[in-house]
Symmetry: D2
Subunit: 381 residues, 4 copies
């Protein structure tokens, strides 16, 4: 089969069969099958995490390439024939393409192995979407043993297909989660004065939370607070005794991170005083800031420039998203970058129920992975 | 078995086995069983609705007594040994006691039938909690045929056990439902500027809805708007593309009802303009205003006074709740009233997950039903 | 001069020359002049308050008629040739017509005095608009000495000219004032994170205050809370260190009044905790509930019916406004009522900068005052 | 007199006598007097704007040093004996020190003129605080004629005395003003349903405006929106028919600037639809982004380092404030920087009613101005 057909067919397979974080059983099985068909010996080092080595010369250095493999609890709204078959689950962050491009790169590397001044390790990691994430356990179980450098590539819904985004230093933010439960007093919807209405109180809370960013954080410090989920109430005419909210906080600085954490608590304490509620509040630190190695980023940039043309290299501002690729970069030098996946003029952000990509980018994505690995080994013998 | 033991045991049986509106199959079966054991011939006139006649003299008048039999989608939070066995369903409005007191009254009437100047019809009606409600179909299928008067009694969590509340005219409000869906644009929680965040927008909506009552309705016109339920978002770090809210509107006047309906729509239209959302909005008219017959109310008051003592009669203000008993009163004269069920000093409103009642009121509740029916027939031969 | 011309000319004089509460010097002088020209002997019993007696038979009873004479700090927006000459002051509550109709009634009474079974006292009272109001001091200084009954009439912008509104019992609410100062921390508008922005915090406060009414007060209890004034900030680009708000609370029940007073304090205390502000809060009890005497109200209704036709008598719901006429009614039986002043289909509420009246009502207004006084004396000899 | 005593005395004189933008008559007079006493010939080129040249060799280059001279409409809250004598006006931005340090630098330059490889122009500019500002007219009237370089220094309340902050490129933001008037419908405070309450509506507006920044602007793009002033309502019990707000928007990018301008309008349009208000909205573009010349900035840094020590040089992030010094930099190369003025550990931001500075910095401030000018002329002959 033509490599392009292989990439598209493989991507659609994974797109149809998304699995949630830490539950990528079918996905991992399929990856192993593919790797074996290439003659590799995949090793399952966590329940759904796989590594596989492509060895040229054991005495030389090794570059790892990592793909994350999990999907999101999003209900797909795309009307395509390879639509998700698993209700409420979707590869809305494009990890289906990550798996695919790493499998494609593996094929290309095997074919060109004689030109590699070293070795390549493939890392298929579960659960990037769900902190604490899959990276920590992968590393603990040896994913980086004998690895000298690491690279990773993320498909990007708000960058045109054909373009690539390179970052020299910081790329991704601290990405934390908070969970809040408000306990009021239920009652009949017709008698609000006898109840404590947690939906009404949540409306003040959401508003005050959003304004932390606009009124209380230095405008020079990028920071985001998003309430992503709220569930409250049983029924239209029963006052909601309980309200549950969860959200995310993104920052690049420890001070700002701590200030927001503290302010959420103070707002809840004030609302408790005003409305006589009780509450539970926990704040979970997520992935740390992701910091690229400048040297490796530059090699990737040169490689991509030779494939896509210099006019297609962009240098975006750091992104407020979190990534557990940050943990690998705390251990070995490397770089993470983004590959444009958007149909021209039709940017749809990752995580949207309408996220989709121009499949023509899969080939170059795989090629950039392969060539970047080759160039890193050449330049850092 | 002692009648008191019967009442408590029966009430606990129904409390343990709550069923949602229109699905009261087990409940209806148990009611039929009980009625048959008293020698009556229950007739299933709707899928889960039952009538049964206690005939003394077919040439004389008939008083109907109605009990509603459905439970609510509330998760019980009472720690009692007769706690609901059906997860997420609870007799949080006390209809378990309504069934019980009507069964108890039936026993008492049968025993004292010779003193009745007429006949009694028992009406066990499904789905009071779920508009359009069970009353309309019961009436259509003959529940009021040959009925001259009707009475109904509601257990009340915010009135002390031992007291009774009588209303001469209006007692319950127009009780409507509204449902709103907001459609924004999903995306990654770290990039709010690329999405349209329906949770944030809902916080403005809820706030503006609540203020309709305080800023736009004549303060002399009792009116309530409650958002009872909101669900939005999949996940803490994905911006919620969709938000669903539902709530209730209570009014005593058609003008106010129509104004609120219109204002909800205008607020949504303005938020659409501001935030570029789409929305769906429907407004369902619920039960109409419930209007008692003054004469019947006075007979019930005298009856209750002789049983509970005059000091235990109260005349509450009309209630903002809705009741499909209103439909019966549009056909035949009658009255609805409330029976105190609260443990002293521990008022917990109906519909709360902590709703419970002092079971010692069951006996007098049944007795007042029976004696009121007897007195109505005596005074209106 | 024709009485109608007199009424219109007199009204326009007072409309052109409005004076604020307790400062009605020119107004009082003009009233005295008019009274003297009728042969009466006005007596200045407070700095700007006047009484004048029309005596028929000292041994018989006396009815007092009271007009309030002060204007409001409102900038008139009417484009009429008798527009207020005093910038920022306007007879936006129609007291210009009250003075005028009482002067007109005085002329009519004098002409018809032989038909009066007693005497009439004219009371021109300052400062109705500004609690503690002028009534208390007028009463202290003898305004009600030897007075047996009292009546008062208010022009009404939301009732058609030609109609009259009668109340048998409660007519006006408790009318209280609250004042709030919020102290934050100023700073440069470009650095909100270094300041405490009292304008932003006030936006939450106003919102929470308005929602007290919609979420925390029994919908059956009429209640209003209005923030009527806010001033904060020096300059567009300096963060406002201080914010001052004032408003009014209207209730018919002591419990509701006290609950709102307490809740305002609790909201401020919670906002202090959340935003680290300081605040000052005072709550001033205003005029008490105004309660009419049913007998006197009925005499006025019969009188008005004979003049305006029975179809023009309405019985409005009690009004949420406050009135220091309430103090007179605490001393002697009497009644207060409203006279429609609106151009057909063009209702503009009292206190609006666009408030104006159909001057054709002045004649009947004066006549109803005169005839009501006459009838009260006849029926209560 | 000792130069230090001169600096402190002069600063306190200007602090006591602050004048608002474009009205710096007394201030300008005093400056002229001081310059003349040094033997210079001040030239009044705008109503209150002055230039004065210190000539060494007309054939050589000229460095301009600019001080802004106006004060703010802030009521001073400092309890010092040199407190502002002009009620409601204060040198809360420290321009009193700017004038003083430029006068001090002039004295130093005159004394050391033989060591200057060129000439110095002193620019005392009015109205920095009040866009369109004084710079445009000063430039139009010749302030930069024959000027080759320009420098400016701002005292800084949030930087310790003894430190200096240098910026190589962008330093200050676009600083715009917006003004909003909302027109509703007045009425009596007790009848909100008959009025359109602009205070309540403003509370929603302020909230929505603040959230533009947190929800709609790329978190990587520094942006601020502050409502600095609101005035609404005449009186506590009259519903406010009109509300006036003004505020500032700060951005570093044209796109963000235009988006915020547009969003304010859309929010107003939506609120008009919801609440039936009318509004006026104008958006005034203020000072443009201030961009330093890297070369000149480095000379100032070296100069300051030799005076304060290298450990006292900081490189702050660009500031969100606006500065009309930006206009000079559009014409000639130069640099603007900040001089720490804070008492240790007691940072109070510029524009606060409590703003004050450690006067011991005045000497080094003057010296750095003088030496920087000298070094610029030496290195750019």
């Amino acid at each position: 089969m033509d490599i392009n057909d292989y990439l598209i067919e493989t991507r659609r397979y994974f797109h149809r069969n998304p699995e949630l974080s830490f539950k990528e059983y079918k996905t991992a099985g399929k990856i192993e099958e593919e790797l074996k068909s290439m003659g590799l010996r995949p090793e399952r080092i966590t329940e759904t995490g796989i590594i596989a080595d492509i060895i040229n010369d054991k005495n030389k250095k090794t570059v790892a390439i990592r793909a994350d493999i999990d999907a999101l609890p999003v209900t797909e709204e795309n009307d395509v024939d390879y639509r998700s078959l698993n209700d409420g689950i979707m590869h809305a962050c494009g990890h289906d393409t990550h798996i695919t491009m790493l499998l494609g790169a593996a094929k290309m590397i095997i074919n060109d192995l004689k030109n590699f001044n070293g070795n390549v390790r493939l890392i298929f990691q579960p659960a990037e979407e769900s902190p604490p994430g899959g990276a920590i356990e992968m590393i603990k179980n040896g994913a980086l043993e004998n690895v000298d450098y690491i690279i990773g590539q993320h498909i990007w819904g708000s960058l045109d297909a054909g373009k690539i985004g390179i970052y020299y230093h910081e790329m991704m933010a601290n990405a934390d989660q908070f969970n809040i439960k408000i306990h009021g007093k239920g009652g009949h919807g017709s008698a609000p004065h006898e109840a404590i209405d947690t939906i009404y109180i949540s409306s003040h809370l959401i508003n005050m939370l959003n304004n932390i960013i606009s009124r209380e954080i230095d405008p020079q410090e990028p920071a985001v607070l998003t309430v992503g989920k709220i569930n409250a109430g049983y029924r239209y005419n029963v006052i909601a005794a309980h309200s549950e909210l969860s959200g995310t906080v993104r920052t690049f600085s420890r001070d700002v991170q701590e200030k927001i954490k503290k302010r959420i608590g103070e707002i809840l304490e004030g609302l408790k005083m005003i409305y006589n509620i009780n509450y539970e509040y926990d704040y979970e630190y997520g992935y740390p800031v992701l910091v690229n190695n400048e040297n490796i980023s530059k090699i990737i940039e040169e490689t991509a420039s030779s494939i896509l043309g210099n006019e297609n290299i962009v240098h975006p501002k750091p992104n407020m998203g979190g990534e557990d690729f940050a943990y690998y970069l705390e251990k070995v030098p490397g770089a993470y970058y983004v590959l444009g996946g958007a149909f021209p003029g039709k940017h749809i952000g990752n995580h949207s129920p309408l996220f989709n990509i121009d499949e023509s980018v899969l080939y170059n994505g795989a090629l950039i992975l392969k060539e970047s690995a080759r160039n890193i080994l050449l330049k850092n013998p």
